[in-house]
Amino acid sequence: MPGLAGVPRTDEKQTAKSFKTDQEVRWCPGCGDYAILAAVQGFLPELGLRKENIVFISGIGCSSRFPYYMNTYGMHSIHGRAPAIATGVAVTRPDLSVWVVTGDGDALSIGGNHLIHALRRNVNLKILLFNNRIYGLTKGQYSPTSETGKITKSTPMGSLDYSFNPVSIALGAEASFVARTIDSDRQHLTETLRRAAAHEGTALVEILQNCNIFNDGAWAPLKDVDTRDDMLIRLVDGEQIRFGADGEHVVVRGKGGHITVAEAADVDESDIIVFDSHAEDPGLAFALSRLADVHSLADTPVGVFRDVVRPSYDRLVREQVEAAKGTEQPDLQALLRGKDTWTVN
């Protein structure tokens, strides 16, 4: 797992319980964050890392209470700034596994700038973005991922903002790893975490999360048994992009080079796109990220959209520092003296 290359392992047998703290969890009953917490605690033992070498850094929001419930090192910082703080941690400590927990407000509103630069630099961070399409902690204002027209406390006549698509943004910000998963799909979430952890560089994982108090059911069409088969597209490497209860819907390349959803019966087998997250060209990944209907959520892809190899910023920084170092300890006295001295006797 290149993403964990410098992090020391442990022989100790870990379980989910190893990662629980004594703090009573304060999320609302029914919050999607519980499922994510359980999935992360259930997954980490698999990595077999020394617990003390794992760090969770969060910003502000319900999402960002996460570190308090993880029995690792953790920091609950300030709104939007976790990726920047985490950059300082990752660059100086190759022996740490650094995770950032954030939300749609924290990462895409106030934190947008730091997010895109972390992605651009490809700092070895695993960014978990809990997207519930609302501001939960401040009690119900709209967020950059809320749909236009949404009625909230600050938009009683409906939001006028066009909404962001986190996967599209990440790809535009040069991301080397972008994925989307769902809080209630434990298996898919765990598999996504596994791939993210293995990745060297910034791994952005958008987790569709339900805020049952302020935006209940925001992702329901993608979760309800009755609708999800026809709405949700699961991307799997090496496989045709197919969905529907009987695999009757497919994603094909159209004449103009664009992609569309079609009925398998209506197209040639050869037109059906075979997905590959490792493709160097982000074009297909980007096109897939644009498929979903913002309001109905129809044709929403989930899975790892992109997973390519690019050296991480922190590794490059350390290599450059190493290259500058000589074989002996640098001479501080010589540095202070400089080149032009004179002596007074």
Partner: protein, 618 residues
């Protein structure tokens, strides 16, 4: 190059100001003259004065760039109130600087640039060289540009390149006039233009031509010499404030064993610290030029969290942006050095001019009660020691610390007695390695003396814990909204900063006669001008005391006692009275501010005058 033809007159001190267009190389000329002067052993002090724009239109007033240098055969403290010699490379330089000269001062003027067009550009309706308006000065008319072109006639360079070498002609002339050694400049030119032998030859030819001109021209009948100044024995070099500050941070890294991490964003006049530190990766220094000021300070905070010495560098506008993150550092109680190289404000203000108006921002610029220690250097060389001291406080007390420098110190230079690295103080981070409370680790269980919390960095087994910006319970560090706990924690964080006073030296007062009834209290770069002013006042037979603060928060423990033992306390500041505000509030002393906010240091003359007024009205 030597000369015996003309009389050599000894001088105790000289103030020279080189002034020209931004493209004329005045800073380089000033730097070279300074270097030769330092090497000769004079005491010196410099004041570069340049505009914010990269290259304003040629020959205009906004484009004037100047470099002032004061050098002497004795200890001096300022770059000089007024130049004794003005080298004016064009009409704009003359117009902008003439008002600062005393009658009788020398004017060395490049007459070639005094064309009708250039004169009109800056509002001269007649040529000052011809209309008698310069009668009261000793004018030396020199066709500098054409003489440079003539001297370079045989060189294989374009006319433009030859003209550009006129600053070397001026330098050669001034080096002759003040009997400066020349080998340093020749070596400098050889190295700088090693890959461009034609340019090298041209510049050397121009320099030598300027020197020869001095020897032969009738315009200068004497030359001067300024003997070396008595200095404490030791090894010296010339040092500029920003590099000195950078070296202090590297030294702090060495003395504490913590790797140095700089998270920064370019901003005038602090960018040079970023540049300097980025050159020293061999010392393990990591520099990240972040996407903005906030990313710079938060990356530094993250590095500190992970066990480095986290530093950020900026100026006033950047401090404003960083305030939330600094508040987080106060709450997390982690080391962080915040360097503010102050400049003219408010808002974008005067990027290349000096000021010291961020003191109250440093004291109070955060939400809630968020005390942050403040350290301020007093001279370019002191930037080294102040940086070490700021790092010490940050590390030992687990706190952000402001290091308040200013543009004048950042770009000014002076001789510096190179410290012996073996005598630098050690700084012990004292990392936590064991549980400290019934087999658990409590991140806020403090040292009873320093009130510092234990610092356990990620990777330390068994001490896993979480910290954050929410209020926390004393000891355990768990989130707490309890009313009594919050009151207690707010007071505790204040008490921790106050407790730093126990490890800072008492204020020293300079009062040679012991009879002074008036105290001049300063901080930051006013040290030089205040010192020079006090000398002048004492030379007139009056008694005055001077004290200078390096620590602005907390104040040294004996400050109140000192302030109350004088009849008057005057606080000269380049702001509207910020230190005065603090000491009035803290010590109930009726301090008098003496304030100017011109973007320039005080002159010792104006301060001496103000001090004399106060003394005579006692």
């Amino acid at each position: 190059m030597t000369s015996t033809a003309k009389t050599v007159v000894p001088l105790g001190h000289v103030v020279i100001r080189f002034a020209g267009d931004s493209g004329d190389g005045m800073q380089l000329t000033g730097d070279r003259f300074t270097s030769e002067t330092a090497g000769l052993g004079n005491d010196l002090s410099t004041l570069p004065d340049f505009p914010a724009e990269i290259r304003a239109p040629a020959g205009t007033l906004p484009g004037v760039s100047a470099f002032q240098l004061h050098f002497a055969d004795h200890d001096i403290m300022t770059p000089g109130d007024r130049p004794d010699v003005l080298v004016a490379m064009n009409p704009a330089a003359l117009k902008a600087n003439l008002k600062d000269l005393r009658p009788g001062s020398d004017l060395i003027i490049n007459t070639d640039e005094f064309t009708k067009r250039n004169l009109e550009k800056v509002g001269y309706h007649a040529n000052p060289l011809e209309d008698g308006s310069l009668e009261q000065y000793a004018v030396h008319d020199i066709a500098l540009t054409s003489m440079t072109l003539e001297a370079l006639a045989d060189c294989d360079v374009s006319k433009k390149e030859a003209e550009r070498a006129k600053n070397m002609f001026a330098l050669g002339l001034l080096c002759w006039l003040y009997s400066r050694p020349t080998e340093g400049t020749l070596e400098f030119l050889r190295t700088k233009f090693a890959k461009k032998p034609d340019i090298m030859a041209a510049n050397i030819a121009a320099f030598e031509a300027g020197w020869s001109f001095g020897e032969t021209t009738e315009s200068f009948s004497v030359r001067y010499e300024v003997k070396p100044a008595p200095m404490l024995p030791g090894t010296y070099r010339n040092i500029t404030g920003n590099p000195a500050l950078a070296y202090g941070l590297i030294a702090a890294s060495r003395q504490s064993g913590l790797p140095l991490f700089l998270g920064s964003y370019p901003i005038t006049p602090a960018s040079d610290i970023l540049h300097e530190l980025s050159k020293h990766k061999d010392f393990g220094v990591v520099t990240v030029q972040a996407e903005d000021e906030i990313a710079g300070v938060t990356a530094a905070l993250g590095a500190s969290y992970a066990g480095s010495l986290g530093v950020t560098t900026t100026s006033g506008p950047g401090v404003a942006l960083k305030s939330e993150a600094i508040g987080l550092a106060v709450s997390l109680e982690l080391p962080l050095v915040v360097v503010d190289v102050q400049r003219g404000g408010p808002s974008t203000g005067l990027p290349t001019k000096t000021e010291q108006a961020d003191l109250l921002q440093a004291m109070f610029g955060r939400n809630g009660e968020a005390p942050v220690p403040i350290v301020a250097p007093r001279s370019p060389g002191d930037c080294f020691d102040a940086a070490l001291e700021a790092a010490r406080i940050a590390i030992v007390y687990r706190t952000p610390v402001f290091l308040l420098s200013d543009g004048y110190l950042a770009n000014g230079s002076e001789p510096w007695r190179v410290p012996d690295v073996n005598k630098l103080p050690s700084i012990d981070p004292n990392f936590a390695t064991e549980p400290n409370h019934d087999g658990e680790f409590w991140p806020y269980l403090r040292d009873p003396e320093t009130l510092a919390r234990p610092w356990a960095v990620p990777g330390t087994p068994g001490l896993e814990h979480r910290i954050g910006g929410l209020e926390k319970a004393d000891g355990s560090g768990d989130i707490s909204y309890d009313p009594e706990n919050h009151d207690h924690m707010v007071r505790l964080r204040q008490a921790k900063v106050d407790a730093i006073a126990a490890t800072i030296p008492p204020v020293e007062v300079e009062d040679p006669s012991g009879q002074a009834r008036v105290l001049i209290l300063g901080w930051g770069s006013t040290y030089g001008p205040i010192g020079a002013a006090c000398r002048a006042v004492r030379a007139e037979g009056l008694d005055v005391a001077q004290a200078h603060l390096r620590h602005l928060n907390p104040f040294p423990a004996n400050l109140g006692e000192i302030l109350h033992s004088y009849d008057r306390v005057i606080v000269p500041e380049m702001n509207l009275g910020q230190l005065a505000f603090l000491i009035r509030g803290r010590y109930l002393v009726d301090a008098i501010g003496y304030n100017q906010v011109r973007g320039l240091p005080f002159t010792s003359e104006e301060l001496a005058s103000a001090i004399t007024d106060v003394i005579s009205n006692l």
